[in-house]
Amino acid sequence: MKVGAGLAGLLVMAGLVALLQWAIGAGIVDEYTVPRPTEIAAALPRLVAEEQVVSRFLVTAGETFAAAGLSTLVGTALGAALYRWPLLRRSFEPGFAVLAAAPLILAYPLFLVLFGRSSATVVVIAFASALPPVVLQAVAGFAAVRPVLLAAGRSLGLGRAAEFRHVLLPAALPSVFTGLRLALMFGLINVVGVEFLINLGGLGALINELSERYDLPGTWAAIGLVVLVSACFFVVLDGGERWLRRRG
């Protein structure tokens, strides 16, 4: 039933694309605004060949993983600190909640000034955007460790550091991985967004360049490519997290 509905949905989407193709040919939709789907599809191989899509992809991926990795490390450490000292947690956790909702990417001109027009800007913005959610996730993860485990550790004579290494961290590991997933999500979105905005580097910049060249099919194709890449990325992330959780 579900598979059938999913298939039906796919067919409907394909049908809409076909409808669009026809409408453009019939002149109902201006072909200088929306290129024919077939032209967009044709532009894709051209992009791959001429625009170094692969190397751009690697640049974007590299920036994303750098930002995500950094924010996971720093965020988990900060989360551990907040958990360890409840006074700090009470004082600053609400602040992180506010930061998590703050549109930091809006300040990109500021970061441009601070770090110049370089990969560093992209990574820093993505890092800063991903950090608050990771911190919140880490704190929640540590706080959710069943108290009985900590009691067991303490009754075996574990000190604070050993308790962290042998009880807290392993028990909170699923939450840490969720934090990593969040970091990757925020990371990718911000990396692609900033690349587009400052026209630098990877896949986001590709869209920008093509639109400035008035290469319409190319622009649409590049957008489609980025959407495809990010969709795949998130499906993999989701699947990965579910697989990890199943393994306990």
Binding site: P133, A140, F234
Partner: protein, 270 residues
């Protein structure tokens, strides 16, 4: 949906007791350290002077922006675009979410497309939106609306699906007509999660509108930020950004309170 995930982490899990007990001390200390460090950096001459302006320059810049009639004109433009974006995106998203949430068939067919497309940064669609809606405010409204649409759909669909099925059975057993079930059961049951969806959608719409203005515009707050950048008027840029972030935070807090109070009033507090 990253924003959704982030916000759900921020607001779905309640933080530990945020009581005033002793929090004033650490916060004050943190503020002093940060501001002190900033001032030290500004006066040290390590960075080019205006990149990190001294605090008094920041304050002056903020004050200048607030008193500038031009800023308020820009703010009105952005505000109008934002309102349009939230209305269009919110209504479209809410209606679509209602459809998807109430029909398992439609949901199985189409919801995955929205989930997949959701996390992509919508700003990359901007060139296309310019083609479709022109270079004026229309494309900014469109940008904001598209950004707002996705979280609204998903949170509305989830809210509709989250209505306790026994309550719907009660309405059916009393032979309530469709519009009665909608108004007397669905609406009160979904007010709280819907408000949260609006909060999320508003935040993303604001980002969309402002980023679009920074990219291509000749008015609005985003444009003002780019102007300040071009003239290297850093205190002014900082002032604008502080006002924007402050505004976003304020609306977020208000809507968040509203959502929590709605949850309490409809007896769905957990």
């Amino acid at each position: 949906m990253a924003a959704a995930a982030g916000l759900s982490v921020a607001h779905g899990r309640r933080p530990g007791p945020a009581g005033p007990v002793g929090t004033a001390g650490p916060r004050l200390l943190a503020a002093v350290v940060l501001l002190g460090g900033w001032q030290a950096l500004a006066s040290s001459g390590l960075l080019f002077r205006d990149v990190v302006p001294p605090l008094q320059a920041l304050a002056a810049g903020l004050w200048a922006v607030a008193r500038d009639g031009g800023f308020w004109a820009d703010a009105r433009v952005t505000g109008g675009e934002l309102l349009g974006a939230v209305l269009v995106g919110g209504v479209a998203g809410g209606a679509t979410g209602l459809l998807l949430g109430s029909s398992p068939l439609l949901s199985a067919a189409f919801e995955r497309w929205i989930t997949w497309f959701g996390p992509t940064p919508k700003i990359i669609l901007f060139p296309v939106l310019i083609l479709l809606c022109g270079v004026g405010p229309g494309s900014k409204v469109a940008m904001g609306a598209v950004s707002c649409f996705f979280p609204m759909v998903l949170s509305t669909a989830a809210a509709v699906r989250g209505v306790d099925p026994v309550l719907l059975r009660v309405a059916r057993s009393f032979r309530a007509r469709r519009h009665q079930t909608l108004m007397k059961v669905y609406l009160p049951a979904t007010v709280a999660p819907l408000l949260n969806g609006v909060r999320l959608g508003f935040g993303l719409a604001l980002i969309g509108v402002l980023l679009a203005e920074t990219k291509l515009s000749n008015q609005g707050v985003g444009f003002a930020v780019m102007q300040a950048y071009a003239r290297f008027d850093m205190p002014r840029m900082y002032g604008l950004l502080i006002l924007v972030v402050g505004f976003a935070a304020a609306v977020n807090i208000v809507l968040g309170h509203g959502a929590r109070r709605a949850a309490g009033a409809t007896g769905q507090e957990h």
